[in-house]
């Protein structure tokens, strides 16, 4: 019995490896796609935060103070003045063209109004259609405006002969000290890549699982496939999918190493936990793939379902927009996606370095996906033996 199982497994394994090598699609969709995505996303977000983003200054005051403000703006990390414009209209047009993402406007008579105590207004504009650029520049421009105000305050209070230590207490009675839990600095890559790269991995796993099985039905080789194990589904399925489990887990682990060892993204736990969850993600996605092709043993439909589900998985991780703040049905729906549970483990372990028991439920959820193939076990077996499904 056991011996039969092992021989069956070996036969399918050999058969599958030969198939993998005979068609370029397997290599392209595993090694090539993942490598390209690693290179693309890691070089794309290499900077961590977009620095020196183009802004403009509309200086209609031409005073020493307005020049001082301009110099201060140049010194900020995230903004770079690439234009000096003469009117609000011009600046707005440049903003619409996307040449700048924000501008500071210093009105005519600005410094004179300060001297005559008329409390002038300093206006700045950012383009929040580019939300990342807009909100980062907003922070910088706000900070520089506040600094300008404080600078003037300081001057007035000094002129009044107030002691330096009292001045500090007046300028900013309460200071804020913001800590980012787990992530030492707001690195944009950390937010995105920890979801996008595993997200692409699970999408590819689902697609390839469906493809590898579905193509046997389509090309009417399913009979040969299951026949090689004496019509036993278990060794046939295991032998078929094991090579992909190994390939994708390896690729996923390379991804983990790139993120945590090479890019040094926050990792407050042993990297082993991320390896384990990557492996679980791969197996859970394979199980879903089996379910899809089991529901409809037609390759084209299986691929469509897998693609649809895999793409949604990236949104349902809830990294960009938190799940808790989505509409209620969405929150329940999100549990159906392995990415959601993977993301939970990542947040608990890698980001927050919490005790593993907090992630236990997510680990169990990922493991429980492997029950899914049993629902379509017989259906898939019958379909393979009889080959009675339409090929198109």
């Amino acid at each position: 019995m056991l011996k039969n199982l092992v021989t069956g497994l070996k036969t399918t394994l050999n058969r599958e490896i030969k198939r993998m090598l005979s068609r370029p699609i397997y290599f392209i969709c595993t090694v090539l796609t993942m490598s390209f995505c690693y290179v693309f996303f890691l070089t794309f977000f290499n900077e961590g935060q977009p620095n020196k983003m183009p802004i403009a200054v509309v200086d209609m005051d031409h005073s020493s103070l307005s020049r001082q403000i301009t110099r201060n703006l140049e010194a900020t990390q995230q903004a770079e003045i690439i234009m000096h414009l003469n009117s609000h209209k011009e600046a707005r047009e440049e903003l619409q063209r996307g040449n700048i993402y924000g501008f500071m406007e210093i009105k005519r008579g600005f410094s004179k109004e300060i001297i005559s105590n008329r409390r002038p207004m300093l206006n700045f504009y950012v383009n929040d259609a580019y939300l990342i650029a807009g909100s980062l520049l907003n922070k910088d421009l706000m900070y520089m405006s506040a600094a300008t105000s404080i600078g003037v305050q300081q001057k007035i209070l000094r002129a009044k002969g107030m002691e330096e230590n009292r001045i500090m207490g007046i300028l900013q009675p309460i200071a804020i000290d913001t800590h980012l839990i787990g992530n030492a600095w707001a690195n944009y890559g950390t937010y995105l890549l920890n979801v996008i790269l595993p997200g692409i991995l699970q999408l590819m796993v689902m697609l390839i699982t469906v493809f590898a099985i579905g193509v046997e039905f389509k090309e009417r080789t399913a009979h040969d496939w299951i026949g090689s194990t004496g019509n036993k589904m278990f060794p046939a399925l295991t032998g078929k999918l094991l090579p992909y489990t190994i390939v994708f887990t390896t690729l996923g682990i390379i991804g983990n190493l790139l993120l945590y060892s090479y890019m040094r993204y926050p990792l407050n736990t042993s990297i082993g936990w991320m390896f384990v969850s990557t492996f679980l993600l791969v197996v859970a996605s394979q199980s879903l793939g089996i379910l899809f092709i089991g529901i409809t043993p037609v390759l084209r439909d299986g691929v469509t379902i897998a693609g649809f589900f895999g793409m949604l998985g990236v949104s349902f991780a809830g990294s960009a927009f938190p799940i808790e703040q989505m509409p209620y049905p969405t929150r329940i729906f999100s549990d159906l996606f392995p990415m959601r549970h993977y993301f939970n483990i990542y947040v608990n372990q890698a980001l927050n370095g919490m005790n593993v028991r907090y992630s236990l439920i997510s680990i169990l959820a990922l493991v429980s996906f492997s029950i899914l193939p049993f629902f379509v076990y017989n259906r898939l077996r019958n379909a393979a033996i009889r080959q009675n499904y339409p090929v198109k």
Binding site: F44, M121, T148, M162, P173, T178, D301
Partner: protein, 413 residues
């Protein structure tokens, strides 16, 4: 009418007839095929609605945070009260130590902690500077931004009042104190996305990507299928094209264009209204802009589809690429900071100019003149990919006629 004119007229009629014939043939194959219907009809209908629903809540509200108030003074209580009253944050728990707060954070009960030190009120009374610490969950960028913003605003407000008190205490009062507390007023205006909405930021770009990718994958599916079904794995059945490549290409593209004209109206005209996304663009400019976008996508897809051996290959190979296209279009990481290599690479795909142009017209109220760069590049792509389509189709058809010629030759034994 001279003979020459008559002949000319006849050629035009036959040309139109051929184009119409190809178009109807294409429509028929499209709607007979369940997979193609899913890709070209169902997906453009379902995806925008689904994403619209998922991201319906533009921004975070009432994010639960924990307060650790070691000062337990009137001022600290006031600060927390103000914070609790904001739209974005609510104080869900109060703890006596950071340890307890951390436990609540680990159990995902709160997404941030506000820590007020024991000497908070004392320092304020003495006229010194004191510090409030904020700890933010950064599993999502949104948590960090919203908590930080709410706390900063509340504390800035409080600072202003304390400043006035202190100036009064130093014998500066009335208008003079007001002036010193606020010698320069400043105001920041976030344009084109009021309230920094997440859906308003993501969806416009995503809609363009969905338009391109469903069309691309759909065309790939159609081409892959005809390749599988025909005798010599050819792209177009020989009876229809009769060797006239141009008619085949135009006939097919008119068919795709008609369908996607409707989808463009639905996605870019209806969806933004339904989900209250930005839509302040000039309709005429938007229509004029979408024309070269659709055309370049159609010809680009027709060119690439020639190389797809099977109907499912396109989907398996290129679906994940949608995510690359989304980011490379420069809607989130600003285009100014994208490496020149990826910028050049991005130019291959119509979606890059498509996303930028659509954002500028639809979201930022730009005109066709504003997006002249994107507009011109889309027309260049249209021309370029039309030529590549022509070349690849001709190459395919030549291959077929060679095979046919070979077959018709008598086999010598």
């Amino acid at each position: 009418m001279t003979l020459k004119q008559k002949r000319k007229q006849r050629t035009i009629i036959s040309l139109l007839n051929d184009i119409l014939a190809v178009m109807w043939a294409e429509f028929r194959t499209m709607f007979k095929d369940r997979g193609v219907v899913i890709m070209l009809v169902l997906a453009p209908l379902v995806y925008p609605v689904l994403y619209g629903l998922i991201y319906k809540n533009e921004t975070l509200t009432k994010v639960p945070v924990a307060a650790v108030d070691c000062s337990e003074s009137q001022t600290s209580r006031e600060l927390l009260r103000h914070l609790d009253a904001t739209q974005s944050v609510q104080i869900a728990y109060r703890f006596n130590s950071l340890e307890e707060a951390k436990k609540a954070f680990n159990n995902k009960l709160v997404h941030g902690v506000v820590y007020i030190p024991a000497d908070f009120a004392k320092k304020l009374n003495y006229g010194d500077q004191t510090t409030v610490s904020i700890y933010c969950d950064i599993s999502s960028f949104m948590y960090y931004r919203i908590i930080n913003q709410a706390c900063t605003n509340c504390i800035l407000d409080m600072n202003k009042r304390i400043q006035l008190d202190r100036l009064n205490a130093n014998g500066i009062a009335g208008e003079e104190a007001e002036i010193i507390a606020n010698p320069v007023q400043y105001s920041g205006t976030a344009l084109y996305n009021e309230g920094a909405g997440f859906a308003s930021f993501l969806l416009p770009a995503l809609l363009i990507i969905i338009l391109q990718q469903t069309l691309f994958l759909g065309i790939g599916m159609i081409t892959g299928t005809s390749r599988e079904e025909n005798r010599f794995h050819e792209l177009v059945s020989t009876t229809v094209h009769r060797g006239k490549i141009l008619r085949v290409i135009i006939g097919k593209s008119v068919c795709y264009f008609a369908l996607y004209g409707v989808w463009s109206f639905f996605m870019l005209g209806v969806i933004p209204h339904v989900f209250d996304l930005p839509h302040i663009g000039i309709t005429a400019d938007l229509i004029l802009f979408i024309i070269p976008f659709l055309l370049s996508v159609i010809f680009f897809s027709m060119t690439v589809s020639v190389f797809l051996p099977n109907r499912e290959t396109g989907m398996v190979l290129f679906l994940s690429f949608s995510l690359v296209l989304l980011f490379i279009s420069g809607f989130s990481w600003p285009p100014s900071n994208i490496h020149w290599f990826w910028k050049t690479f991005a130019w291959i795909f119509p979606s890059t100019s498509g996303v930028q142009g659509y954002l500028k017209i639809n979201t930022m109220a730009g005109t066709l003149r504003t997006v002249s760069q994107e507009y011109i590049s889309l027309w260049i792509q249209t021309g370029l990919y039309f030529m590549t389509t022509f070349i690849t189709y001709r190459w395919q058809i030549k291959r077929i006629s060679n095979k046919l010629a070979l077959e018709s030759e008598p086999v010598l034994s």
